[in-house]
Symmetry: C2
Subunit: 762 residues, 2 copies
């Protein structure tokens, strides 16, 4: 029997081809592999010397198999693998043509090959898949299913604002609103202004203003408009928000009837474009520190608005660089050399020919990371004189005798009351941000459902949304977006129904949700960009604009880290209120005096419960978030108190706890968001929608817990077995929700012309 | 005694002003506050009825104090607070002018006021700070200190590449390299090309090519050039990298001598601008799946390059839209209808007049999120015929008989060997990314050191870098950037010194560090943007460009999530190799068979050690990272094995573990990074530099542990007391490193004209 013969016709040695192929696949035959095979052969006395030599000959490191030989082996193995369940079966199949094979040689093979496989560390059931070309897997087959009625979910999301939302969507779908190339900033700004005029002409600008001044008297509608516009160009939203929200609402909220009569009609129709000039180069978050002055002249009954130094110039002011004709200017009121704190004044900037008025200098902020359709500018005032009636005097005024007057004695309180009326901005921005996240998710999820990459050997490729990692990246963000939708609806309603005594709570809620949502948007759009790969980087697919335009949302209407600390401080004060009338410091002191309270018992059985029934129970989820909320709040209080007791200046003590305080703010918001989501699930009557929302709510709750798993373990609130079970369940929910994902983003019902990204329409 | 008198002249009732002021400060007098004060007063028989009535009169909710009265109280309290250590002291000071006060009344006050304060929850030592205007705190005073010699640290960072680095820096500082407005894409692309020519003219383009073909033979220098250029416009870096790295190095690495002789000189001088045409619309990460064909015609000795369908067009190809005259095209080699897998071919695209050659269609990719100075294009080939010698035939060729030939038998192995030679791109990209992080940190840290916002009541404002939260945001990123610097140096050196058998390890290292670094860069620049507030959003401050240009780094040279899984799979294979010669599947099987090994003992004493000596011990830090690395590697193996044993298709099983595998890849990289940083600290001789680097290294180690604290607690490797101690130490290190932060970013020695951001030069 020649070696030639062993190679060409069916032969028992062919049963070793699969093993030879596998050991040579990485082109490196290791000592150990060689050893394992020759050891094995030396013990098999049913194999002839020729056969053995043939096999050993194929293991010569200096003469590896050629491409042609490797190819030949593979073809034969693939053929043999078709009806085989394991590598051994395929191997025996390859040997079957050999007429020299006697039953006992076959039996020897049947026993020996698995041993050799084991010695080489091959799992036969697994290895066979390398040769079962075109076999189908669960991962490939998985797909979108119709678990609920999209239209019903859209209805639920839109609620009583459906008419307004649909009106805006249909307007945005007009050809006039087709996107333009943003390269030329001048053209872009003019286009955005034209769009704004169209919106105003359609009665959207003055939606929130009182009816007696030409408005719609519909604050709720205004928020729905802002949000819906955010499916389109975000420069338009911000331009719209500056004009009607900031400029208009500042006149409305800080002024009195004569201001309303004089300005609101023209603002609402965009006849009088204006600005909101609060931030200065030197003072953004710390508004109290602004340095622009408004000096009262009793003889003339005028104020002189002045920029005392470079740092006091107004900066980043939207609508200022080109279009604004007037502004609400925040300045320190000075009477007889006495500083009466920050107040607001209407100051004309340009005439109708758009020429700057005397004493006004405006510079262009130039190119920004995004929002280049908005003309942000820097404003300097050089002793600009305005009449006394231009002071927006709802909360403070100068009386006939030239004296400062206010219904609010405390300067601090007056300042915060004034800012409090502007809280609407902290509702509009997160709602706009959330809409941008929804666009990003719609693009990335629809693309991920179509885009295929990699697959089992020789088989069709898999939609990337079927990969667990891809789901892990996008599904939690989708769940969080739904969660935030309901939380922002809640915030809006609380704001609309507000009573004086709830203002502090509502302000904290708005500040917290603004921070939480805008951070979520930044994270979501980043993930969407990466999830779309190179396609996500092309501007035509819109994640570029969405990401860059919303990036500043974490900064404006208050820097997010400053806002979350505000929430924390308000929470410390709240906590105290529920026990006594002590002030903030008292709150801390009080808390510190308490024994550590456990809102939820740390029950040793519950700590270790890992069953789905428990983990998916809203009560467990909410308890966990509440426990964290209360516990880190009180521990922050105790910590600050201890530091002060040890003699530290309280400013320093609060600084030491700053990181802790940010978490206090976030934990509060997370609890609120979950609470609202749970309530939403409970009141959803349509079964399909409810089941899907329940899954999203569970995912939101569990990723929030998972994110803080270190804390829960540290606190001994959960055991390791439980956090592991939660991680597993999160993965499972991501897998489950993937089936609904396309429908869930379609339920946002974003107009196709707004979404626009080609990759969302493959 | 009239009430009038009580109000105007010094009087014992004035001792209550501080308390009255504090309860009215929020303009809301609660029931509880009113109750506490009147209860108190009713028990103080040393207070007269008039006095009591005066005080109670100030607590009438219907007549709150006026602004003027609040102001008067505050002024008086501020005056009294000057020499007082507590609120009580100041209160007594206010009463002292009253000649009716007898010693016993003073004594009563001294006893009574603290009781009242306590009842109201006021901490006297704390509350006094509200009135100590202009007092100085630790937080305000904290500042940059000179703990080390900047020049010495720069020297250490630059190492033996200092000459090359300084040459590039001085070239970039020439007026010619001043940034231009990127609005006009055409102009921008031409400018970038001109800059590239200048670099080539200065001998930087061909640095890595062999000397015999006009190059510098200095691969190490090439990486230093790429990195240093990245302090400038990143479009330039990418254009440079496409021409000299991708186009040039593909000819160099995949071609043989005749290709080198024919092309390298012209590529290195930019006489022959070219492209690297690998990615197709349908296949990015899964390069093996590309569909472009190169069909061999033996009669003509030619290949026909063809794009069979829209998905097979080459996409995102740099240098293609305008400037490229040729390309290395990756295509499936077809001989006699047989597919021989992916190979590379040189294909001319344009003539010297930049006219497209027959059969070539190129479209412009259009505007991108960033890198708009690079002309990315889409290429279609319509039966383009090229001569046989254009096949880059280092790893495979067609012989004289028209048959496929290769020294590597395994198709898989040949494919990965070919890709392996291109690993340099996965070194250049993270080094470029890291340079961009350094620029971002230099801008944000220098700004944070100058920018002041908020401060103690009535006192100067605080540089925002002194806030703990700001430090928490930036210091870990600074430490991580230093850590990555040394890790990338190590990777570069391993690559330069590579031996054949180390290639798999080096490829995994490069893939992992590419992913880890580019994710770090995205995160860092996002944080820097936010940390700079509105200023960070203005394009003039360059975070815009840095962020948008590098955003795609997480995608190109391989999607980061795909790369980290590659690392994980390579790690599973590695693991096996150290025990036997089994293949990957065998590795998993082997691992699964092992008892769970604990590399480091879970010593109950060590689990609870919280002292600095222990936590700052490199051995503890490294053990913790190693333990995690080994443990999640083997648990991933066990998990996949279990699923396959249960009958799951291995493709599905790997998918189930995908999230886990990403962590396996990252844990490996983190251990390597820490190991290298620790070694760097050990070999640093200058004491100042070593101390600073040690702090950075500690911070890197501890934030990495902190990030995985949930896992360590779950595994019972650490106790809650220990993770808490680590968190505290992280905060402390952030505080400590803040003193060095400005020097640390200055040590990057980024040319001022490159950094350019006005906020970095306040």
């Amino acid at each position: 029997m020649s070696v030639q013969r062993l190679t060409t016709t069916a032969n028992i040695t062919h049963a070793f081809w699969p093993i030879l192929y596998l050991v040579w696949e990485d082109q490196i035959l290791t000592q150990a592999e060689h050893q394992a095979i020759s050891n094995f052969l030396s013990k098999q006395n049913w194999i002839s010397v020729d056969e053995r030599n043939y096999i050993l000959g194929k293991l010569d490191p200096t003469a590896p198999p050629s491409p042609a030989e490797m190819r030949k082996w593979k073809q034969a193995i693939v053929e043999a693998a078709k009806d085989s369940a394991t590598l051994t079966e395929a191997s025996i199949q390859l040997a079957k043509g050999d007429e020299t094979i006697k039953d006992n040689r076959l039996a020897q093979l049947q026993v020996g090959l698995p041993q050799l496989e084991t010695a080489l560390g091959i799992i036969g059931k697994e290895a066979i898949y390398n040769f079962k070309l075109g076999h189908s897997t669960l991962t490939q087959q998985y797909d979108t299913t119709d678990n609920f009625d999209i239209a019903k979910l859209t209805e639920l999301l839109d609620g009583d604002q459906a008419d307004t939302i649909n009106k805006v969507k249909s307007l945005l779908s007009e050809p006039e609103f087709e996107y333009i190339d943003p390269s030329n900033i001048e053209e872009y700004r003019e286009q955005v202004l034209r769009w704004c005029h169209t919106l105003a002409d359609n009665g959207l600008g003055n939606a929130a203003f009182p009816k007696e001044f030409g408005g719609g008297g519909d604050m709720k509608g205004y928020f729905a408009i802002m949000e819906t516009l955010s499916y389109h160009d975000l420069s338009l939203v911000i331009k719209f928000g500056v004009q009607f929200g900031l400029w208009g609402m500042s006149v409305h909220s800080l002024g009195t009837e004569r201001h309303h009569r004089k300005y609101l009609q023209d603002i609402g129709t965009l006849q009088l474009p204006g600005c909101f000039a609060m931030t200065e180069t030197g003072h953004g978050s710390n508004v109290k520190g602004i340095e622009t002055t408004a000096t009262y002249n009793h003889a003339e009954k005028t104020f002189t608005i002045h920029t005392p130094n470079e740092n006091a110039r107004k900066e980043y002011i939207g609508n200022a660089a080109v279009h604004g004709e007037a502004a609400t200017v925040f300045a320190k009121l000075v009477i007889n050399g006495h500083d009466y704190g920050v107040n607001a004044f209407v100051v004309p900037l340009r005439n109708k020919a758009k020429e700057l008025l005397p004493g006004i200098t405006i510079k262009d902020c130039g190119r920004k990371m995004g929002l280049n359709g908005v003309d942000n500018g820097v404003i300097y005032f050089d002793n600009v004189v305005i009449p006394k009636e231009n002071m927006l005097d709802r909360f403070a005024s100068v009386n006939e005798a030239g004296e400062f007057e206010s219904p609010i004695g405390s300067d601090n309180r007056r300042f915060f009351t004034m800012l409090g009326t502007l809280v609407g901005g902290r509702i509009g921005i997160p709602r706009s941000a959330l809409a941008a996240s929804k666009s990003g998710l719609a693009i990335a999820i629809r693309y991920g459902n179509q885009r295929k990459q990699f697959g089992p050997e020789g088989s069709v490729e898999v939609p990337i949304l079927n990969y667990r990692m891809h789901q892990r990246r996008l599904m939690p963000l989708l769940a969080k977006s739904y969660a935030m939708h309901f939380a922002l609806q809640y915030l809006t309603q609380r704001f609309l129904d507000r009573k004086e005594e709830e203002m502090q709570e509502i302000e904290a809620l708005a500040a917290g949700l603004k921070a939480y949502t805008t951070w979520h948007t930044t994270a979501t759009l980043q993930e969407c960009r990466e999830a779309c790969g190179g396609k996500g980087y092309l501007s035509e697919n819109r994640i570029d604009a969405l990401k860059n335009d919303t990036d500043v949302y974490t900064t404006f209407e208050g820097d997010n880290t400053v806002l979350t600390q505000l929430v924390a401080k308000s929470r410390l004060a709240e906590f105290k209120k529920s026990f006594s009338g002590m002030n903030l410091i008292g709150g801390i002191s009080y808390l510190a005096g308490q024994a550590r309270t456990s809102i939820t018992e740390k029950n040793p059985l519950i700590k270790r419960r890992t069953d789905d029934e428990h983990l998916l129970d809203p009560q467990f989820q909410l308890n966990a978030l509440r426990y964290r909320e209360e516990e880190i709040l009180s521990s922050a209080g105790r910590r600050i108190k201890r530091l002060v007791d040890e003699g530290m200046d309280s400013f320093d003590a609060v600084n030491v706890a700053q990181h802790h305080l940010v978490n206090v703010g976030l934990a509060y918001i997370e609890r609120i968001v979950l609470e609202q989501f749970i309530q939403q699930v409970e009141r959803t009557t349509d079964e399909g929608c409810r089941n899907t929302l329940k899954k999203l709510c569970d995912l939101y709750a569990l990723i929030t817990i998972e994110q803080n798993q270190g804390w829960y373990l540290e606190e001994d609130y959960m055991d390791g077995v439980k956090t592991k079970a939660i991680r597993k369940l999160v993965n499972q929910l991501c897998w489950d929700i993937r089936q609904d994902a396309v429908l869930l983003v379609n339920a946002f019902n974003i107009p196709g012309s707004c979404l626009a990204a080609p990759i969302a329409f493959l």
